[in-house]
């Protein structure tokens, strides 16, 4: 048997290669660098890789190729936009991750053990979170550009495994953090199994693992539709788990709450872009012609997801859980972009993902600032009167919440408008009506937090607002500027997206 060496286009793959290289350097740094120099070196390596990768993405923005890695990945406009969004979101998340206070000194030690105490006392802080982040980002970058099911699965695992670990790294409430990590891992493993099962059925249906092959089989007909349906159903379960859609959402409130807040920010924003990116690509290319089979189900899931997320969020008393349910509701809104299945829907989803991701990181950045002596304060009742204590922080948080609620002049509104109008255009009116109504429900709990912060008198219970480090300030200010700018003057970004947003097949 002849063995031919794979032909790889290194330029087009360079954004991911840079990240993987940076991650490997990070592992070496962790092993050999003296502990005094470690944090700053790790931070520089991580940021350097991310920025370099972003530059590379910018350079290849007009490239189109289906053969960059032997037909396993596809580089096109949406790919560039998704990768760019993931990188920008990762960079501002890394600014938050740079706060060592958030992370356990020694993740391998049992919670409350002597080793842990010893590590804390000697200041022996491990910084493995940086290489883990880079591995996760590399997986996220690969996920939405994969064009066959095997690569897709590899990317899914590359992005998930580091995230499982990162969720367990919290310094405070370590047991909750580890519980979150375990829960995330177990449920993630189940969903991976579903995913693989679906992939097998799709292979059985089309005797191909590439999206093009599946698409051709659908167009050609003749295959066993039962295989196709089972395949789509199980593959969708895996993807819907990652985006946190109802009924596959159960992990997200616990993981959001248990994970260290910087990790939650990163996970909530970047994973969503990657997962929806992959979803958009699969549904818009491989499954586009089998629309009849998945649109009704996805419509129902979208409606349930947004209504459920919005309703349950009302009952939350913890800011991180509230944001988790809000992200579930937003997953529902984003699903309308998948259902739309038109160019407007793709553009709208890409805009929404970017805008929502940036706002999410900004909101979690604020959460990291509100603390007492035992660490972050996430109980909403103790956020009372925040507007009086630190008006700027409270105003920024209010701005992010208003954007989540989709109030005009914020990026959230433009996102909602564009995604709903795309869905309406495709005839999915029920989703639009459900979306509008659940936006009204959602507005209620966002506003309740604003009331707590501004219209309630502060209680003296030791809650204080940390003076943000310069890195955190950059994240907050950047997120705020983007949130407002995309709301007031979104035209340049929309144009940019519109010029690039076409999937090549």
């Amino acid at each position: 048997m002849e063995f031919s060496a794979p032909v790889l286009n290194y330029t087009l793959l360079s954004p991911m290669l840079i990240l993987l290289g940076g991650a490997l350097i990070g592992v070496l740094v962790e092993a050999f660098m003296s502990k005094a120099l470690r944090p700053i070196t790790q931070l520089s390596v991580t940021l350097g890789s991310l920025v370099l990768s972003l530059v590379q993405v910018w350079k290849i923005r007009n490239e189109q190729s289906v053969s960059a890695a032997m037909g396993s990945v596809v580089v096109d406009g949406p790919a560039v936009l998704m990768q760019g969004s993931i990188l920008i979101i990762s960079i501002i998340s890394v600014f938050l991750i740079a706060d060592a206070q958030q992370f356990t000194a020694l993740a391998a030690a049992l919670p409350g053990s002597d080793e842990e105490r010893h590590a804390l006392q000697t200041g022996n802080q491990v910084t493995e979170v940086y290489p883990l982040t880079l591995f996760a980002v590399a997986g996220m970058m690969l996920f939405p550009i994969s064009s066959d099911l095997i690569t897709l699965f590899v990317a899914l695992e590359v992005l998930s495994l580091p995230l499982y670990l990162m969720a367990g790294l919290s310094r405070r409430r370590r047991l909750a953090s580890q519980e979150a990590a375990l829960k995330y891992f177990l449920l993630g493993a189940f969903s991976s199994a579903f995913f693989l099962f679906g992939a097998a059925f799709l292979y059985g249906y089309s005797s191909s693992i590439t999206f093009t092959g599946i698409r051709n089989a659908v167009v050609g007909g003749g295959g066993n539709d039962v295989f196709l349906l089972i395949g789509i159903a199980f593959l969708s379960v895996g993807l819907l788990f990652k985006v946190g859609a109802v009924p596959f959402h159960a992990w997200s409130p616990d993981v959001y709450q248990g994970a260290p807040t910087p990790v939650t920010a990163f996970m909530a924003a970047a994973t969503k872009v990657a997962a929806f990116g992959a979803m958009l690509r699969i549904y818009y290319t491989a499954f586009a012609n089998a629309q009849w089979s998945w649109t009704p189900v996805l419509t129902i899931i979208a409606i349930i997801t947004m209504v459920f997320g919005s309703l349950v969020a009302i009952a939350q008393r913890d800011v991180k859980r509230m944001l988790a349910y809000s992200s579930i509701a937003h997953a529902g809104f984003l699903l309308t972009g998948v259902i739309a299945l038109n160019k407007a829907g793709l553009e709208a989803s890409l805009f929404y993902l970017f805008a929502y991701g940036i706002t999410t990181v900004g909101a979690f950045a604020i959460v990291t600032l509100v603390r007492d002596s035992a660490g972050e304060v996430t109980d909403l009742n103790r956020w009372k009167g925040l507007g009086k204590r630190s008006p700027w922080v409270a105003t920024a948080f209010a701005g992010f919440l208003l954007s989540f609620a989709g109030i005009p002049l914020t990026s959230g509104f433009i996102g909602k408008f564009s995604i709903f109008s795309a869905a309406y255009e495709s005839g999915a009116r029920s989703v639009v009506i459900a979306g509008v109504l659940s936006s009204a429900i959602a507005a209620f709990f966002y506003i309740r937090v604003i009331v707590l912060m501004f219209f309630t008198d502060p209680v003296e219970d030791g809650t204080s607002v940390e003076i943000p480090s310069s890195l955190t300030s950059i994240t907050v200010i950047f997120s705020m500027v983007v949130t407002i700018a995309l709301g007031v003057f979104p035209a340049p970004v929309l144009n940019f997206i519109s010029n690039l947003a076409t999937f090549i097949r």
Partner: protein, 502 residues
């Protein structure tokens, strides 16, 4: 200067100036805010002078591309209707600032913030009436809620945060229904020759009557919450009772007019057929509002809530005038919007002074003010008389026009609505009697009468109320062509007046 965009920029410039004043110098912030609002008012009046009365097209049109991807323009322009309402808003603004000189002091935040919010609101008030792009209108319609929310929740009294939330939730809910309709319009425009939000282009869209009915409801419910029409009114009394008098003036006088304005500008223009379909229902709701608002006003013990309920009754009249579909009814409704702005302003402003002096808003706590504070008492009396539409005061003209315009087509409704006038006499005269006449209630002897600032603030309001009562034609000349135009576009002709000698 004939640019609406520049007019919208003026308060922004003033806002920056206010923001730049040092926090300690509160008086300076107030002065800057007052100067800005006066300049805006003068500029608006100057613009209104250049308005061509007989031209029914939009005037002072300006259009800048905003989000070309969606065909959204920053497009503004006014017809007679919009001009009158912008005029009302910008004249009320300096009066609110001057009359409520000290009302920002009890707030959660600084005096400066209060005036920044007021100036933001002023820009949006101009924009919401001037917008000719439906998307722009929606953006301002929703964004306006935020400054009002903070004005009520931050500077109000009593259950202010609950009232602010109620106000915001109601309005957001209505706004989102409208958003669904706007999205539908946008998508349909895309299918019929290119995405646009231009009001006049959207008015040409062809749609099935079912679609039109649904989209109409999306808009109408939003406006009926805003206006507010029974049974969607319950947020208003709470908001008005909790807000400062100045905020209440802007809330009831200007913001709620966006609702009735929107009914004419958007509901009737975009969905003429659906408007006709729903007219019988809306007319009934309007009449219920008139009577219900009046009856509840009679029962109120709190001065601010009383004024709020009188407004619900008045908004019933305005809605009735709009949907009577006659040109008198329309002109009357538009004039009513203007006049209601000033008579409600007078009631809230003078009522606010009384409340601030007495430290209570319960009507029973006042008494015999006529003797103690004659100028204040007379001002309140006059404001009340304007509210009950005494002939010779401005509201009479508009109420009369509305009733005449309604009677020609809906005599039964008009007759029932007339009872609203009788009830109005009760709800105004009872508090006037309790608060102003009779023996001076103990504790009221030491109340001070209006000072110079307050007299200067209330004088223009009273002057306008009296002047337009005797001579409304300057405004009617602007309003009539616009009203006739709308009625003609709807395909209606005024029914011949019924002769008594038939």
């Amino acid at each position: 200067m004939n640019s609406l965009v520049l007019l919208m920029l003026l308060p922004i410039i003033g806002l920056i100036a206010v923001a730049a004043t040092p926090k300690a110098k509160e008086v300076l912030s107030k002065q800057v805010a007052l100067a800005t609002t006066v300049i805006v008012a003068v500029a608006t009046i100057a613009m209104a002078m250049n308005f061509q009365r007989d031209n029914v097209d939009l005037q002072f049109v300006e259009k800048y591309s905003w989000i070309p991807t969606f065909g959204i323009n920053f497009a503004v322009g006014v017809d007679g209707l919009a001009l009158v309402l912008i005029l009302m808003s910008t004249i009320l603004a300096p009066i609110v600032v001057l009359s409520g000189w000290n009302e920002a002091h009890g707030g959660r935040w600084s005096v400066k913030t209060f005036y920044i919010l007021i100036l933001v609101l002023e820009t949006m008030m101009i924009g919401v009436f001037a917008a000719t792009d439906v998307f722009l209108f929606y953006v301002i319609f929703e964004a306006m809620l935020i400054p009002v929310y903070f004005l009520i929740g931050g500077y109000g009294t009593g259950e202010r945060s609950a009232a602010a939330v109620k106000f915001l939730i109601y309005s957001l809910f209505g706004g989102l229904l409208m958003l669904a309709s706007i999205i539908a319009l946008y998508v349909m425009s895309g299918a019929q020759g290119g995405h646009t939000f231009d009001l006049q282009a959207l008015a040409q869209l062809e749609m099935s009557s079912t679609t039109q009915n649904f989209l109409f409801l999306g808009f109408f419910i939003a406006f009926a919450i805003k206006a507010p029409l029974w049974p969607l009114h319950t947020w208003l009394p709470d908001a008005a009772a909790s807000a400062t008098p100045g905020t209440s003036v802007l809330l009831l006088g200007v913001l709620d007019k966006v609702g009735t304005f929107g009914m004419i500008r958007y509901c009737l223009t975009l969905f003429p057929e659906a408007s006709k379909t729903f007219t019988p229902l809306i007319m009934v709701l309007a009449v219920i509002s008139i009577v219900y608002g009046a009856i509840l006003a009679i029962g109120q013990k709190d001065l601010k809530r009383l004024i709020a309920f009188t407004s619900i009754s008045h908004f019933g009249f305005i809605t009735m005038g709009i949907f009577a579909m006659t040109s008198q009814g329309h002109s009357g409704a538009t004039l009513y919007m203007f006049n209601h702005g000033f008579s409600t302003a007078a009631l809230f402003i003078v009522g606010g002074w009384m409340i601030a002096r007495r430290g209570s808003s319960t009507i029973a706590d006042f008494g015999g003010l006529q003797r103690v504070t004659p100028v204040m008492a007379w001002s309140f009396f006059l404001a009340g008389m304007s509210s009950l539409a005494l002939p010779g005061l401005s509201s009479f003209v508009s109420e009369f026009l509305v009733l005449v315009g309604t009677f020609t087509r809906y005599p039964v409704h008009a007759v029932i609505a007339t009872f609203g006038i009788v009830l109005a006499a009760l709800y105004i005269l009872i508090p006037v009697q309790k608060a102003l006449h009779g023996p001076t209630t103990p504790g009221n002897e030491g109340l001070s009468d209006l000072n110079l600032r307050e007299k200067v603030a209330i004088a223009p309001v009273i002057a306008i109320i009296i002047a337009l009562g005797f001579y409304p034609s300057p405004l009617l000349n602007v309003i009539n062509p616009a009203s006739a135009h709308v009625i003609a576009q709807m395909g209606f002709t005024d029914p011949a007046p019924t002769n008594g000698d038939k």
